[in-house]
Assembly symmetry: C2
Homo-oligomer: 250 residues x 2
């Protein structure tokens, strides 16, 4: 978005969006055995930000989050879960915002809609890494996947939001299976285990993991084997969606 459009956005935002309410999304993906998070590189800054946005006057939080994620990822159908509202009165650091806009040549009066206090609803999303087309927004130069272990300084309280999203995802994993949204349609048991290990941040015992995941009854062994493997071809699985949906209340 050019400076002119950014200025227009600023001029009109108060008529389109609810005041003092925003949302931030922690989008998780899985690739090459690594848990990844979709992040925006801020313009004129060395900091990163979570994808986020505002809530239209007549939108639900969920509709707003779906709209924002569609803009950033190109995806229509995303597993999305709100997990916390971040409401510390000190969380909107206007010095950082004002400096950032001034670098872009925009001066806002202190009473401007954009410079009020914002409470932000955190969502986490689970997406199939391979289907996403990351798109930068008006405030950023780039939108990219970063490994969860390699994320540098984030703006505002976004590190806290990311941490709490990971906590919520780990909690979800303790009481229901995970994987459908994050893995390709066919996968091996070691690949599923690696996904769990990436989320939990620790190694799991192979036999315990296999026993536990099979008790859910959500996996369907496939007749085909993985191609191009030298020795013993590993068993491929897919999710039994009827049972998966039952186990996860989808």
């Amino acid at each position: 978005m050019a400076q002119k459009e950014l200025k227009e956005f600023m001029d009109n935002a108060g008529q389109i969006y609810l005041s003092h309410l925003s949302l931030d999304c922690v989008v998780f993906g899985f690739h090459d055995g690594q848990l990844k998070v979709l992040l925006l590189k801020m313009k004129n800054s060395d900091k990163w930000a979570l994808p986020g946005g505002f809530v239209k006057l007549e939108e639900s939080m969920e509709t707003a989050a779906i709209r924002v994620l569609k803009e950033r990822t190109g995806l229509d159908s995303i597993f999305l879960q709100q997990f916390h509202i971040f409401s510390d009165p000190g969380r909107s650091d206007n010095k950082e915002r004002i400096a950032h806009l001034q670098k872009a040549g925009i001066d806002l009066p202190v009473s401007h809609w954009f410079l009020q206090r914002f409470l932000s609803v955190g969502f986490y999303a689970l997406v199939d890494f391979s289907t996403v087309t990351p798109q930068a927004d008006a405030f950023s130069d780039a939108c990219v996947w970063l490994d969860i272990g390699e994320i540098g300084p984030l703006i505002l309280d976004h590190s806290q939001i990311l941490f709490k999203a990971l906590e919520a995802l780990r909690l979800q994993l303790h009481h229901q299976p995970i994987g459908y949204n994050l893995l390709p349609s066919k996968f091996t048991m070691p690949e599923l285990q690696r996904l769990y290990e990436a989320i939990l941040g620790r190694k799991l015992d192979r036999r315990n993991f296999q026993r536990k995941i099979l008790t859910y009854g959500i996996l369907r062994p496939l007749k085909e084997k993985r191609q191009g493997v030298a020795h013993k071809a590993p068993q491929l699985y897919s999710f039994d969606m009827a049972k998966y949906k039952k186990a996860t209340n989808l």
Copy 2:
């Protein structure tokens, strides 16, 4: 609160509270083997409501919820957990609100702060039933405990908020122990089991329950036995708070 004070509240609310943001609290207590919820009987209506309120201009959601609950229960220190923001654009039924205020002799212009769309953050609280002094608010005649199984029609989407709070409490119970906030300081194993059963809405196997709860390592058997019991006096327990806090991340 008399009509005059209610009118004053309406006149000033927009200068004191954030617009279009409220909170509702599902306060759980446990008494006589029953899970109970604190509810307000609405004035001039046969409906009930969850205790709730608004957020001051510079408050966090948590500070606002603590303030509201202090007003309704007299308690300073409450286990409090936000679990969801309810944001359906149709959830603020202004016909119901306007009719309700008119019965109280108050006519508000349609553009009034109180008649805007509200998004509400749901909290659940766990309290020791015996320490609460319920207090009605400006919109209600009474504030009382009702058994979870005997709750009649609630205003707006409060039934949905209650249902989702119970769901969140059940989820909490699956991954961490519960009881410190809801039971007296000394209790028997059957009393703790009855609390779990009341929350889950189903009977539990005695031996499985005892084994599972003892694996948490959070119970301390007491030397004293319950007084006034005819035959075999049941073992009393209390929570080992150091271990309880560790298990529940308190």
